[in-house]
Amino acid sequence: MNLQLLVSGIAMGFIYAMVSMGMVLIFRAVNIVNFAQGEFLMFGGYLCYMFNRQLHLPIVPALLLAALAMGVVGVIFMFTSYWPLRNAQIRAIVVSAMGASIVFKEGARLIWGSIPVTVDRVVKGTAVIANTAVVQWQNIAIIGISFILILFVYLLLERTFIGHIMQATAQDRYMASLVGIPVVFSIALTFALSAMLTGIGGGLLAPLFFLNNTMGYTTNAKAFAAVVIGGFGSVPGAVIGGLLVGLIEAFGGAYISTTYQLVIIYVVLVFFLMFRPQGIFGTRIQEKA
């Protein structure tokens, strides 16, 4: 087993987990697969670049500010791309999200140009593990920070009252308004949370892979695969799916071909669709007549 690959695969896996978990949060709230979720990663990365390299803030505050700014971006996205179309057909909203992803992509190009950029590492240097593997500290940092953030969001949803309110709104919007929940606020909160979680991933990823304004596209494809593999709508599933995608990509890239990384992921996806279409976790809730 190649330890180096394992660590970088898990680190990438956690990045994808943050994207796919963000996707699932929005899916559960409004029943729409957000095909602009990958753009949140890209845009969050660029915001982090702005705070870190253009405004010369240290990386940790830059990440925090980028996350907060992404919360605002998430709310704006919700009010422009989803809310006006909430009663329209689902495909209209999917197309609107795709449109928004173009706005993000070209917006980033207008603001920050098309030359790939990077940000500071949270932890510099490399570590030697078990005398054989040279691992970048940034990978370890990604794993630690992402794990904490994912756990935080999960606990927020499952263990706090505001989380239960968001779940209730996601499960039955009509009823939520009848018990006095301001539905628009609850949904906006979900979008903000989703964009923050995914956006911070961009800032963590940037030191390893340069940021460019088109990276959202493949990220979307991988995160979508992760969501399906994990079990559509399941939060733990999205995390496990994300990790799997990261590992498949790392090992597939090293042992098979880097050109066909995405193809390999989709082969696994097709196998899941054939033999376990409900994904690893399946659905927890059934509808009773």
Partner: protein
């Protein structure tokens, strides 16, 4: 406490309610009877702010027509909709806790709800046994009880019940109606929409008969139950 005047509601070009007048007084159970498509649910959804309407709806002398659903809920008009609408992925107790948003607001921690929980568990002991269960796994009757209990958690000033008997076994229907009477006796007025006219007329004080979006007939429930036309059309009594 609730006065509906000349209420008109339409879905697109389809006018559903053609000028409804209706009152619910303090402490009474008022029932609304009508066949499928008469506009009963539309009337409730109009009161709770889910349907665009013209006309006036006075609640404690304030016109609430045109207010948003959650604002109306926060005034204390709580609707238990047709088909129960429990939050399927939350447990019984989490469902009940969400019911307190209406009077305590959105918040990070739910706080101490033991008093409210004790109150509803006293009325619906079955829910206490099931309190850790996800709501989707409850039986239909239990879901109906949960839906009503969740509304009680918000200290309703007026309870709007839409077809609480739908899809339930007769014995369970009896039980649910007993609870509704009990809740009313504890001081909550109820506007009850029902297809089960026999039960509804038995527990209510006054009744309105709705036909194709108009109030056809209204009065004391006992008198309504004796009316020939009502007996024939809604109670299944055949005239000889």
């Amino acid at each position: 406490m609730l006065r509906v005047r000349n209420l008109v509601a339409s879905y697109g070009y389809n006018q559903v309610l053609h000028g409804i007048d209706l009152d619910v007084g303090q402490d009474e159970i008022v029932t609304l009877i009508g066949s499928n498509g008469a506009g009963k649910t539309t009337l409730l959804n109009s009161i709770s702010g889910h349907v665009k309407i013209s006309g006036e709806i006075y609640y404690q002398d304030v016109n609430i027509a045109g207010k948003s659903p959650h604002a109306i809920a926060r005034l204390g008009l709580l609707q238990v909709p047709e088909g129960r609408h429990v939050f399927p992925g939350l447990t019984v107790e989490e469902n009940l806790a969400v019911g307190t948003v209406v009077n305590r607001g959105m918040r990070i921690r739910k706080g101490d709800l033991s008093q409210d929980l004790d109150f509803v568990y006293q009325i619906f002991p079955r829910l206490k046994e099931r309190r850790k269960q996800l709501a989707w796994s409850l039986s239909g009757g239990e879901q109906q009880m949960l839906a009503i209990a969740r509304a009680l958690m918000g200290h309703p000033k007026l309870l709007l019940l839409d077809e609480p008997s739908m899809g339930l076994a007769p014995l369970i229907v009896e039980e649910v109606f007993e609870r509704i009477v009990e809740i009313n006796r504890l001081g909550t007025p109820v506007l009850l929409v029902e297809q089960n006219a026999t039960m509804a007329l038995r527990v209510s004080k006054r009744a309105y008969i709705l036909e194709r979006g108009r109030v056809k007939f209204s009065g004391d429930s006992k008198e309504v139950a004796q009316d020939e036309r009502v007996r024939e059309a809604y109670l299944g009594v055949i005239r000889r």
